[in-house]
């Protein structure tokens, strides 16, 4: 090649090299145009994911994750997000707050930016008005100084507005015994002395609990055994039940309930019994005795009668229909279902029943006489026209219901309306049935006990939505479930944890409620004891066979039928073997001040398909 030809080639080469960008220059990710097809970017806080972060309590950094989807809502694969806090980049997607305030976090993917997630960083000291110390287990009235008593405490940080704060405060607050910090919230006395226990943290101190620890024999100069039955007669039917109480007299002359084991022993016919309740299927005379530190109690005897056909109790029902047109045949059909449910005959799909399923010997009729003593043209039907379609449960339980509260000593009142809301704000309008627990004259765990014969100062009744009258396997047992609550039964599951069986019935396996989520459709549950079982109980939520009450539940219902207030039962002087009402029962007037009620509501979750039951065509509502 001639030299004159080299020059132009050289010029062209230099031009090419200087004009082209070097191939491996790294451009900022924000300039990556491929992310233009991203539809949206969402950011989510990792960990508890909540909108609050408590300084000194939340130990970890705030961490986030993000997700991007394209216009077709398909997830964008393997994207590179950057995370920003208040417009500043957040290295590694983590942020450790040191100051209180509100922080906005965003994720960016190229040019796309997520909506912000706001986290409020809170200094707990600014929220806590006081600390409260309580005892979770252990009896401070009986503390042994030999190391055999164990106390477990709990604390509540009370906020400025008087409510307990929704966080676990333990990292910031410690338990102090006689001024010495403890590693946990537990304490075991080892000396004979008075211990002073309190919480300290965030510049606050809790109330003080005194624990007087003594040698065991200090507490036991005398032992007393007492008994409560769930009815005047005791039958060998495993429904009659006796609950015992062991008390000891201390040296200072105080009777205290003594529950500590193994120091307390309980004997039935001289045989050691693990619990303090008694049921049997064998008639006879039984002797009961307790022993505390070898000191014996008085002896009690109980005559157990052979099981007999106890009378069936009949309860008249009145449906108060607030601008709801339910056909009379539907009301009767619902009563027919109740009569099968409470007589242990409801099992339309022939599914397995609970091992200890029971007949509650309870039946219902539509009331045929109104409170003025006049025959009702359409039994059990009280149509109320107030000129509107929807009502709030609050206004019915506070006011409107009282205008139509038929004497509950004669009727079971059921208010039917298209409800807009409830006292339980979290449920919005999604509940199917709502009720409350009874009151009793004789102690029953989980139920309020009163003496005398007070008038109701809350609307002891049921509230249901019209959908429960649909011919629908899902909704047909809602009213039966709510009547169960009204007769003292609690949900078969545990609301939160497995610390105790919350329905006080040993034959309904406890399981934590969070297991019951739509994604886990099925009858299968894993109990708190780790054993799998099928949900059969009417007091469970819907995804179960819903075909059984149990013997222990029958015991509680028998207790309420014998000692519960405001029910049309023989124990309350109503001769109702046939459900007919004589005389003029009248209405109950609203008292000037209403009592706050421990409502129990059964929400209606969104419908989900499940194949193990015969799915009805009309499937728009579930009883949860």
């Amino acid at each position: 090649m001639k030299s004159r030809q080299i020059l132009p080639l050289l010029v062209l080469t230099v031009l090419a090299l200087t004009t082209c960008r070097r191939e491996r220059d790294v451009l900022p990710l924000e300039d990556y145009y491929g992310y233009r097809t991203t539809g949206n970017v969402t950011i989510r806080r990792l960990g508890n994911g909540g909108p609050e972060y408590y300084l000194g309590i939340d130990q970890d950094s705030l961490r986030f994750t993000a997700e991007a989807r394209d216009m077709d809502y398909k997830q964008v694969p393997a994207p590179l997000f950057s995370y920003w806090v208040d417009g500043k980049p957040m290295p590694n997607g983590a942020f450790l707050p040191t100051k209180a305030g509100k922080y906005n976090f965003r994720a960016r993917l190229g040019p796309k930016e997520s909506r912000p997630v706001t986290v409020e960083v809170i200094d707990p000291a600014s929220l806590i008005s006081r600390l409260y110390l309580g005892i979770r287990s252990g009896n401070p009235g009986i503390a042994f100084s030999d190391g055999s008593s164990r106390f477990e405490f709990f604390g509540v940080a009370v906020g400025l507005n008087g409510t307990s704060l929704p966080f676990d405060f333990r990292p910031g607050i410690r338990l102090y015994v006689d001024g010495l910090p403890q590693p946990t919230l537990e304490f075991i006395p080892t000396q004979e002395k008075r211990y002073r226990v309190k919480l300290k943290g965030f510049g606050k101190e809790s109330n003080e609990i005194w624990i007087d620890a003594h040698p065991p024999d200090y507490y036991v100069t005398q032992v007393r055994l007492s008994m409560v039955q769930n009815g005047p007669e005791f039958q060998a039917d495993e429904i009659s039940k006796a609950d015992f109480r062991v008390e000891t007299l201390s040296r200072e002359g105080r009777w205290v309930n003594f529950s500590a084991q193994p120091q307390r022993e309980f004997f039935v016919d001289d045989r050691l019994s693990p619990g303090l309740s008694f049921k049997t299927r064998t008639p006879g005379v039984y002797r009961f005795k307790a022993k505390v530190f070898s000191r014996e109690s008085n002896e009690l005897t109980l005559s157990v009668l052979p099981p007999s056909e106890s009378a069936i109790i009949t309860i008249p029902i009145v449906f108060h229909l607030f601008n709801v047109a339910i056909p009379q045949a539907k009301l009767q059909a619902q009563v027919d279902i109740l009569n099968k449910v409470f007589r242990d005959q409801w099992n339309p799909n022939n599914n397995p029943k609970a091992e200890r399923h029971a007949d509650l010997r309870l039946q219902f009729v539509l009331a045929d006489t109104d409170p003025n003593g006049r025959p009702m043209p359409q039994p059990g039907r009280d149509y109320i026209d107030l000129g509107r379609a929807r009502y709030s449960q609050k206004e019915i339980s506070d006011k409107l219901g009282w205008d139509h509260y038929w004497n509950p000593d004669f009727y079971l009142n059921i208010y039917v309306a298209n409800y807009t809301d409830t006292y339980l704000a979290s449920l919005k309008g999604t509940w199917a049935g709502l009720g409350s627990y009874p009151w009793t004259r004789v102690a029953l765990p989980g139920i309020i006990m009163v003496s005398g014969n007070p008038k109701p100062d809350f609307l002891y009744a049921l509230y249901v939505i019209p959908d429960v009258f649909k011919d629908n396997y899902v909704t047909q047992t809602v009213i039966a479930h709510e009547i169960g609550h009204l007769l003292g039964l609690r949900h078969a599951f545990n609301e939160a944890s497995c610390e105790q069986d919350e329905d006080y019935c040993d034959d309904t396996p406890a399981y934590p409620r969070h297991q019951y989520i739509p994604e886990n459709l099925g009858t299968r549950r894993i109990g708190c004891d780790g054993m799998a079982f099928s949900a059969t109980n009417f007091m469970d939520y819907y995804y179960g066979y819903e075909n059984s009450f149990t013997l222990d539940q029958a015991s509680r219902v028998r207790h309420i039928l014998n000692y519960g207030l405001w029910l049309p039962t023989p124990a309350n002087g109503r001769s109702n073997s046939h459900g007919r009402i004589t005389g003029a029962p009248g209405f109950v007037k609203r008292p000037p001040v209403l009592r706050p009620v421990d409502w129990v509501a059964c929400p209606a979750p969104e419908a989900r398909p499940f194949g193990f039951l015969r799915r009805p065509a009309d499937f728009d509502l579930l009883k949860e």
Binding site: A16, E30, D31, G34, M71, A78
Partner: protein, 153 residues
């Protein structure tokens, strides 16, 4: 890469005009980064392009037989593909991205040629008048910028 046919009409010995119809493949391999993460993207744009160079100067310097031309072009986007990989992982194809690119591209052309070889060589620079990917939020708009070496048979 490009290939096509052209028609050159001489005004005189030193001036000419040229019309070309060609297939042109443009595109880029780019690396985008954030901290230690790397996103490598390959974009290919296939055009049918019409070049009009109304004035090509051919000074008759014996030692340096060069040419210089100026013109405009119009391209029709036939097909576009975009693939990317993050941190040398799996390769993904973004088929939705083609909807974001303009289907037509117009621009100007500048060429420098050398005719001292048996087959004339030409270095050509092309630049679009308007973005092929319009500005979007914070991003810089994308223009076609091409430097190509032409060999005329």
């Amino acid at each position: 890469m490009q290939a096509g046919v052209g028609l050159e009409i001489g005004y005189s010995r030193r001036m000419a005009a040229r019309l070309e119809l060609s297939y042109v493949r443009k595109g880029a391999r780019e690396v985008f980064g954030q901290r230690t993460d790397r996103l490598e993207a390959t974009t290919k744009l296939h055009y049918a392009q019409l070049n009009l160079m109304p004035l090509i100067l051919k000074p008759e310097w014996k030692r340096f037989p060069v040419t210089a031309g100026f013109g405009v072009y119009g391209g029709c986007l036939l097909k576009m593909s975009h693939r990317y990989t993050v941190n040398h992982g799996a390769v993904f194809s973004n088929v939705l991205l083609s909807d974001n690119f303009r289907s037509m591209d117009f621009g100007w052309t500048l060429s420098l040629g050398y005719q001292g070889f048996r087959l004339p060589l030409e270095l050509r620079f092309e630049a679009g008048f308007r973005p092929i990917l319009p500005s979007h939020g914070l991003q810089t708009p994308l223009y076609n910028r091409v430097l190509a070496l032409h060999l005329t048979i």
